[in-house]
Amino acid sequence: MTAALALVVGALIDLSGPGHYIHWGFIQISVGNLVVICLMVVTFLAAILIPYHRRGGRS
């Protein structure tokens, strides 16, 4: 079970090899760091846009 799980997760995100980098002019960033930054932006926007429902609190 553990080996099968490791196989599936390893197939999705292979962290064993050398890192992947994106070059754009003088900007160079690893894919891992770019993914984290994108996730933070998505989380930030979601935190602002998704309504927060309160349970009958005082206004």
């Binding site: 984290v36 996730l39 933070m40 989380t43 930030f44 979601a46 935190a47 602002i48 998704i50 927060y52 309160r54 609190g57 005082r58 206004s59």
Partner: protein, 228 residues
């Protein structure tokens, strides 16, 4: 001999002749600025009904996990966290709680930046947050240097050039494992936790910053964030 009413003592009311004592002054300062209802409030302002306000608490939750997992790692040492399965698990727990700590802290920072959260006499709250962020980056760097693996060797040899370029390499030697470990497990965690506590107490003292459109014109109301 003056008799003291026990109820007065428990309510923090001292005798007039003791008013000059440092204990009375500190108690008076705390009672004025952090009365129990403001220190641990039951309710928050209605404008806090947004997900963006949870990221400060999430950051502190991740910090608690960082301290707990780091404490476990310090009990057993590198041989344990490199070789045993439980050690590897706790090592990963430490890494990923740090990842979440920075993730939540950055979202918290963005939220507070766009709220201009330094308004209403909250500059010190903002600055303590900035200092905590800086101390956390230092804790992160010294943590990478304390892994005792090829990654830490590579990072230390890269970091030394930057540290030497700013002229502090003689005092903060990233190639000195013992010094970096002490910074990582003693000075910087103490700084991060202590300044975080101060940050939270300042938030409780000044109140949560209201949205810009709800900012009260009266500065006296602004000091408490218009809670109610």
């Amino acid at each position: 001999m003056t008799t003291v009413d026990r109820n007065d003592v428990e309510a923090g009311v001292g005798l007039p002749e003791d008013a000059d004592q440092w204990t009375a002054k500190i108690r008076g300062f705390l009672m004025r600025n952090l009365p129990p209802g403001r220190l641990i409030p039951d309710r928050q302002p209605s404008y806090m009904a947004s997900w963006i306000y949870i990221f400060g608490a999430l950051t502190m939750g991740a910090l608690a996990m960082v301290i707990l997992s780091g404490g476990l790692l310090s009990l057993e040492g590198p041989t344990w966290w490199h070789t045993s399965t439980v050690g590897l698990f706790v090592n990963s727990l430490h890494l990923w709680s740090v990842e979440l700590f920075f993730f939540f802290m950055v979202v918290h920072l963005w939220g507070k930046f766009f709220m201009a959260a330094w308004r209403g006499n909250r500059a010190l709250t903002w600055m303590t947050g900035v200092i905590t962020f800086m101390a956390s980056i230092g804790a992160g760097l010294t943590g990478y240097l304390s892994q005792t693996n090829f990654d830490s060797q590579w990072i230390s040899t890269q970091a030394k050039d930057g540290i030497n370029a700013v002229g502090i390499g003689a005092f903060f030697n990233v190639l000195n494992f013992g010094q970096m470990l002490m910074w990582h497990i003693m000075i910087l965690p103490l700084a991060v936790v202590a300044i975080t506590i101060l940050h939270v107490l300042l938030v409780r003292t000044r109140g949560i910053v209201p949205p810009i459109e709800l900012e009260p014109a009266d500065p006296a109301t602004a000091a408490t964030g218009g809670e109610g």
